[in-house]
Symmetry: C2
Subunit: 363 residues, 2 copies
């Protein structure tokens, strides 16, 4: 009862101040409703970067909504296994999910484009394409059949080519190479004569140590150093080519999203956008620090993939993308949109970001 | 009166549902207060990119707060002149401002570091430094004396070296060069024997056409094409070196910020973060398109600054930064923090983003 009196008094003050009655009334009636939502993820709970992203998202939403939209984050396997996140959110078992679209190519092949494709857009370009180049609209069109609304919600920046116990001097060294590399990158390695293997993160160290695999890619220095790959691998190769601008996704059940008042919908959208950048900021800072540790403290040998190998992998990637775009009319439109954006971005970034990196270095 | 009855009924429903009384009561009483704030900017109203950033920010805040924090955006000169934005917000004439910190080096020399310094961090690195490298804390320390809280709120990406009617083949061609280039970039040109000139944007076209100046830098293709510089200049030079990662700022009067309930404070912070990325996304997409227009339609000649010139400008920039860092104990800490971050970022980006740009191109 005390509550009602307090509120009445507050409302009395407002109604006396005049002129804003309508806004206040609408605001107050809508705001009574509390939403307690579940966010399932494809990452171990609180996994650095990838997993802290959705946690930060939930915190931001909670703070901005003053607790009206409370989001509980579940790590992979806590509520549903990692690879059931898409279905769980599609069916409304959870209202939200965080993961990567390229995990769902079994549902829709073109989903690969919205994480990262080999030799595709980097992080800055992915964000430009998604938000000002028509990419997000295409992504939403692709996910509409699944009752899902996707948002970009994190980026790692270009990932490393990976850890190798075999020196790569030519394409001959790719032949028979047993490498943990999932997604389209793995398909490219397979077509190049290697053997792409899928192994869970927690088992990679041992697989590399015992020679079950010759090579692996994980993420980049920040995540890689934590798993200790430098203790069991001879070389750390660059540049990454298979995942140049990996975008993480927030997916929201479409019906659930529609039940939110407009202000909470805006809060979800803006928090996703903020986290989309925040994760890249974190990786940018932490990768720098981790690389120093790897090289200066652990004596890791950095090696560059030879031009010939890069050229051949790029050629195979191009063929596979062409095949992928033949999957459906929508896949074709997505592929063409991304390709057109990349053509322009490559031209501009050649004389801007790339040229600047070169200008900055001591020569 | 009808309003109070409606609210009472809604509250009755809530109080019957039980368990969440405290949250609801707190929420409702705080939410009665409406805030109508002024945001003054250093840009012409709705100037593409730079000026649409604060408009987007205001829209996001309005939507997320359900109209409880209404922000009116003023273009330069509408309420206060561009270069009085800092003082106006510091004194509370307006609650918020949007501009660039390097306009305020007359107040605090080290403010230059938080926009962009010659041969410094690019956009991705600025965001990493600010949000995960201690940069934002230093910025807030610097602005605390002025009763201001700064937020990163936009980025153009690396800017072009500019438009020239004189070919630059060696440092001799910089001697006597009359160039519109403000800030530290201008100081570097002056020390190199040129003449840096400050001219307002609207007068640059004529100044270039009539030979009052030999060269100018503005922003990048998206903004440059709109001002028609390609009609009055022979060459478009790259790479930009003077403003590699220009961060725009949102400044908020500290006392005003403290009057906001915590949820509105969180909304301001997150909206700024989202706009910080959104502007870069817009520039990334629009610069690409504008460059195609400039080169393919208008036949603009792109030219690269010679290595010798880049090397010399970099040397002078280093000397000037060293001098700047001697300004105060805080300037020294800021300079050292940025320098340490850049050393690591350069090492990592050499094998990641930069190496990837190179790997992607047909060779």
């Amino acid at each position: 009862m005390r509550i009602i009196v307090t509120v009445l008094f507050a409302l009395f003050l407002v109604s006396c101040s005049g002129g804003e009655d309508k806004t206040v009334a609408t605001g107050v009636t809508e705001k009574q409703q509390l939403f307690k939502w579940k966010l399932v993820t494809t990452w171990p709970k609180n996994y650095p970067g990838l997993g802290t992203g959705p946690e930060n998202f939930a915190k931001k939403v909670n703070a901005m909504s003053d607790g009206r939209l409370q989001i509980k984050v579940f790590g992979a396997g806590q509520m549903v296994p990692a690879f059931e996140v898409f279905d769980a959110v599609s069916q409304g078992t959870a209202e939200m999910g965080h993961g990567a679209s390229y995990y769902w190519t079994g549902k829709a092949k073109a989903a690969a484009f919205f994480t990262s494709i080999p030799f595709g857009l980097n992080a800055q370009e992915m964000n430009g394409w998604l938000h000002y180049g028509g990419g997000l609209e295409l992504w939403r069109e692709l996910y509409a059949d699944f009752n899902l609304v996707p948002f970009a919600a994190g980026n790692t920046g270009v990932q490393m080519a990976g850890w190798f116990n075999r020196e790569i001097n030519s394409m001959d060294d790719i032949k028979g190479l047993k490498m943990r590399i999932p997604g389209m990158g793995g398909d490219v390695i397979t077509r190049a004569g290697g053997v792409s293997v899928t192994i869970a993160g927690g088992e990679l160290y041992t697989a590399m140590q015992t020679g079950v695999i010759d090579a692996l890619e994980w993420v980049s220095p920040y995540n890689d150093i934590a798993l200790g790959f430098h203790q069991v691998a001879k070389y750390y190769y660059y540049p990454g080519w298979h995942e140049p601008g990996p975008t993480l996704e927030l997916i929201v059940n479409k019906d659930a999203l529609a039940t939110l008042p407009k202000d909470l919908q805006a809060i979800v959208e803006t928090a996703a956008r903020a986290v989309n950048q925040d994760m890249l900021d974190e990786y940018t800072a932490r990768n720098n620090e981790a690389l120093v540790q790897l090289v200066d403290v652990h004596g890791v040998q950095l090696k560059k993939l030879p031009d010939e190998v890069i050229r051949e992998l790029r050629k195979i990637s191009g063929e596979m993308l062409e095949e992928l775009s033949e999957d459906s009319e929508l896949s074709r439109r997505i592929a063409e949109s991304a390709k057109a954006f990349q053509k322009q971005a490559t031209a501009y970034h050649s004389i801007s970001e790339e040229a600047y990196y070169q200008a900055r270095k001591e020569k």
